[in-house]
Each structure stands twice: as structure tokens, then as C-alpha cells.
Amino acid sequence: MIGNYGQNITSLATHIAAGDQLFEPVPARIVKVVPHTALEKVFTIELPDGLSLAHRPGQFVEVSILGIGEAPISISSSPSRSNGTFELCVRKAGDVTNAIHHLKAGSFIGIRGPFGRGFPIEKFRGKDMLFAPGGLGLAPLRSLINQVLDERAMFGRVLILYGARNPSEMLFKDELGRWANRADIELLTTVDKGDENWKGNVGVITTLFRQISINPRNTVAVTCGPPVMYRFVLMEFFGKGISEGNIYLSLERRMKCGVGKCGHCQINNVYACQSGPVFPYSEIKGLEEAL
């Protein structure tokens, strides 16, 4: 397992499994709130003393405010940078996330998790990594990207193709700037629609694929984004010759329980909260309703 373990640190999942409290969130403290766009804020969260999230990149947590409700949110920080805290990039989209947006540093928030199957980063070592996040899809992929960057020597090329609807909706702009300045990262960004200050690419994310060439036999491709994006990005991955087993997708579902019971995330016979949200394409290509 990846993560910073001290001698006396218990993982949150172990803590919850040990008690009689599958649905009881652990109160965690918000230590920092950074607005990124009009709709998204990044919250840095600290669990109570002695508990560690011990997550894998790609996993999610259930975040709740008592009296309002609970929502599944992907973890956007990497285990390598956990330092006792983790980060959630939260888009204002419903009752729970609206209420979360009103919280300031010092407030408490309920956390359950981490849930689901994350990225099998061990399998990725030695490979070239091609990331293609769209919009808010950067949030879960950032967890993996930063883990890869923190183990940079273990990987081949790192290519990141990021698409957003417009410049004002781009997330993690400071980080994108740092990635752009690194010689060991190939970053391309695009927006569907530019504004007066935008000097970069204009067009949907698939237009960026024309600008890159890769070694398909040694490349792992990873994508996450709005549901409409997957088919088009998959076509690009196939066009580059990447094999089905080396394509990983993180799928969005509204998990109400996170523990394989409530049925909301079910894709055919698969519970996305248990078998996913990260899937190799080879596993889901036969699943109707997956994409």
C-alpha cells in the first residue's frame, strides 16, 4: 500500500471496519480552502489524530455535512504528498456540494472511505504515461499524476493532454504552469472556446492528439472527464495503437453507500464503487451502460 504510515497510524478504512459504524463518517478538519474557478474549490482536509486516509490514486471518499447529506468525491491529492492531509476538488453541483462550498478553514466535515479500486500504479512503472483529463476529470487524475511525478525516475515519458471548456474553467492553473515548465513533462492544454487572453490551443481535447506521437507498445493511457468525452478520447487512444488493457478510465457514478449495497453505481453486474471507479477498458468494453 502506498502512503505515509507512521507506527501508530491506523488507516481510516481499518478504523471504520473495526467499529460498528459503516455509515458513520469520521469528523475531519478543513485546514485550507482554495477557490479555483467559479464552481470549484480545493479543500485540504485533515483526519483526527492517529488516522490516515491511506488511499490509492483514483479512489474516492464520501463527504458529508450532518443534516444536509453525503456525496462521493474523488481524492485529488497523491498518497506521496499526503503528509497527514488530503485534498478534494469539489464542484458546486447539488445540495451537499453547495453546503461544502460555504465551509471555511477550521470547519469540520464528515469523511468515509477511501472506497473503490484505484489505479494499479505498480503495473504502470517503466511505462510511458499518457494522461487525458477533461474538465473536472483532472481532479482524480491529479492524484495519479503527482504520484507518478514523485516517483518520476520509475516512469518513461509523462504526457498530459488537458481540455477544459474555457480558460476560466481550467483547474489547478498554478500546477499546470509548473508542469509546463518542467522538461520531463509534455503538457498540452486546450479549451473548447477561448477568451481575449487565451493564446493556446482552441478545440476539443481530441484535437491535441494530432500534436503528439507515442510508442503504443509501451504506453499506458488514462482518462477521466464528462460522460460525453470517453468515446471520443478512446477513439484517439485506439488511433495511437494503445492496447485495450493499457487504457484506464475513471467512471463517474453517484455512489450513495460506497460499499456495494445501494445499487446507484451499478453497471450491469458491476458495482462501480467496488470494482471501480477505475477500470481498464478491457474490463468494461462488454458492459452495456458503462459509457
Binding site: D20, L22, I65, I68, G69, R253, C262, G263, Q266
Partner: protein, 348 residues
């Protein structure tokens, strides 16, 4: 474990004794039909009931189940709700026993759902053998759920003047301490076997194929035109899933009291037939059409749950068929898919 004979004239005393010790639930007559309710008087129990609208599932997995409570939403302190007292459910039919076994498996494997499991641990089941079909909608014999070998603490068989009682668990033995019963003799066992074997011809097979073929039939029917036909008829009212003994999907939401401080997080029965069930935050719906939702329901019943939990998701009780306003029935759907396959429709 053992067979006991409980004379019907002693049955009321048995229930009266149990009423002092336990909460008792069972089938009672209500609004011209029958319903599982908590009873106060043995006279209320109607063990001869044909079927109920809602299954006994509601004792184990209530329509609204409090997951935890909080006094003050701001301080974050939570406590588990108090459990109902230990409960004995009378009159459970074999189909519902099979359904409860599925629920037990779902909630007690993987991540253990303590809200269900704690309640289940203190629930005892006194089932009763079905000797005649409840009506023409049930198809338990086709589903292999006409009898159950386990899943009960006591199992009653109506022998006319007495009940033959199969005492199956230690909890069942404990219950029987409250009954004036005698151990079953060889004569009783022979009579019981006669009653049990005579019942079989009374129940018709209603599926046109063997149940072991259902998963593969469904697997090759993903693209059947039948789903669109069902989608055209379905009203998306969710009556089918609401009355189903094996449906366990739920929604989770918070309730605040009027003081805006205390409240609870509850789960409520939810339905894959409702439009918003597979919605995600961005507004995308992964099963937008009624056709896809009906397909999901039947695939779940005959295939997905089997693949995930090794139990069929349908027990042939017929409740959904009775509840459906537009006559969508599992027997009709499964037989039509079989007919299409036999015609070699090539929809796989």
C-alpha cells in the same frame, strides 16, 4: 434438528407466551387483503394467508431505516439508533425465506452492514409451508423456491389438527420452550411426508424452460426488442421494486428536526425504475429510458445478482406481477425471451 408436534388448540398459548418476551410480527388481515404487521393478540395472526402486498423484508430492512442519529449537527457527535426489541416473524413463506437468505448474504458479506446485521441477529423466523399456490401470479415451483431447507428457526406444516414443527436452530429450540408440544413420532413423520409430497402436483410450472437456463437466456437477450416494448408500456411507477422481497437498493439522505440541530441520516427504499436513479452530478443519466431500466431490473433479477452474490434475484412470489398496472410480469417477460430465442431471433 428435530420434529415437534404442536396441536392447533395450543398454538394461541404459544404465541401468547412469546408476546411476553418478543415483538411478534406476522400476516394479518387488512383492508381486504393481508399484510405483515406487528401483532398484540394471537387471534390477529392469519397463517392461512395467500400472500401479502409487501414482503416480510420490512421487518429487517424497513422502508426508512435510521443509519445514525445526531443531537447537534455542528458538533458532529453521532450515535447508532436503538434497535427494535428481539422479534419473531411468523408465517413467512418459502419464497420470502429465499429472499431473506439473499438479503442476509448481501448485507453480511463484503463490507458488513451492521444496521441490517444487528437487526437480523435478533430476529427469529417461524416459516410456514405453502400447501396450495397463493394465486396464478406466483411461480415459485419454476424458480425452485417452493420449499426451503434452511433460513428459518422454526418451520410449520399444517397437518389439519396440528402443526408439524421443524426445529432448525438453537433459537428455535428456545422458542419451543414456550410451547406445549410433543416430539414427532414415526407416524407423524410419515404423515408429514405424505402432506409434503401431495402438495407438489398442486403447483404448476409456469416458466417454459428450466430455471438453470435463465441466466444464459438473459445474457443473450441484452439486445432483445422486448425491452423497448416494455419501455413503451412501463409507467416508471416503481411499484414492482417496492413490493419485491429481494430488492435492496436504497437512497441515503439526512433529516433535520424542526430545531435545525438534531436529526438523523436515513436510508430509504429506492428504485432503479425511477428516472433519476442512475443520474450523476453533471446531469448525465446512465439509464435514461424506461426500456433500459426495465432491462436492468430483469437482468438484475435473473443474472446480475446471481453473478454478484450467487443467489437468483427473483424468488417467484409474483408480487411485482400483481402490483404492475400495465401487466409486466416476470413470467411473461422470461417466457417471451425464451420464445424469441427458440425462434432464433438473433438478437444476441
Amino acid at each position: 434438528m428435530s420434529l415437534a408436534i404442536l396441536r392447533k388448540q395450543d398454538f394461541k398459548d404459544f404465541v401468547n407466551h412469546l408476546l411476553l418476551l418478543y415483538r411478534i410480527g406476522g400476516p394479518v388481515q387488512k383492508n381486504g387483503g393481508f399484510a405483515f404487521e406487528t401483532i398484540q393478540d394471537p387471534e390477529e395472526l392469519r397463517l392461512d394467508y395467500p400472500t401479502t402486498i409487501l414482503p416480510p423484508k420490512k421487518f429487517l430492512f424497513p422502508v426508512k431505516d435510521t443509519l445514525f442519529e445526531f443531537e447537534d449537527a455542528r458538533n458532529g457527535k453521532m450515535k447508532l439508533p436503538e434497535l427494535e426489541p428481539p422479534t419473531v416473524i411468523f408465517g413467512v413463506h418459502a419464497c420470502d425465506l429465499h429472499a431473506i437468505q439473499l438479503l442476509d448474504h448481501v448485507f453480511s458479506t463484503g463490507q458488513i452492514d451492521s444496521n441490517y446485521v444487528n437487526r437480523r441477529r435478533q430476529t427469529m423466523i417461524v416459516s410456514i409451508e405453502c400447501l396450495t399456490p397463493c394465486d396464478t401470479n406466483s411461480f415459485c415451483k419454476s424458480m425452485g423456491t417452493l420449499t426451503a431447507d434452511e433460513g428459518y428457526d422454526l418451520h410449520l406444516v399444517d397437518m389439519g389438527d396440528a402443526y408439524a414443527v421443524d426445529v432448525s436452530t438453537e433459537a428455535g429450540q428456545e422458542l419451543m420452550k414456550n410451547a406445549r408440544s410433543v416430539p414427532g413420532s414415526i407416524t407423524d413423520i410419515n404423515r408429514l411426508n405424505a402432506v409434503l409430497s401431495e402438495k407438489w402436483p398442486r403447483f404448476p410450472y409456469r416458466l417454459d424452460f428450466d430455471i438453470s437456463d435463465l441466466p444464459s437466456l438473459l445474457n443473450m437477450s441484452m439486445k432483445s426488442p422486448l425491452w423497448n416494448e416494455l419501455g413503451e408500456r412501463c409507467l416508471a411507477c416503481a411499484a414492482c421494486t417496492n413490493v419485491c422481497p429481494t430488492c435492496f437498493c436504497f437512497d441515503v439522505r439526512d433529516e433535520m428536526d424542526l430545531n435545525l440541530s438534531s436529526g438523523r441520516r436515513v436510508r430509504t427504499w429506492d428504485s432503479c425504475q425511477l428516472d433519476e436513479f442512475a443520474n450523476v452530478a453533471g446531469g448525465h443519466n446512465f439509464r435514461k429510458s424506461r426500456a433500459l431500466r426495465q432491462r436492468h431490473r430483469f437482468m438484475r433479477k435473473g443474472r446480475y445478482i446471481l453473478e454478484a452474490h450467487n443467489y437468483l434475484g427473483c424468488v417467484g412470489c409474483g408480487r411485482c406481477a400483481r402490483a404492475c398496472l400495465v401487466d409486466i410480469t416476470p413470467v411473461g417477460v422470461f417466457n417471451e425471451l425464451f420464445r424469441q430465442k427458440e425462434l432464433g431471433g438473433g438478437h444476441s
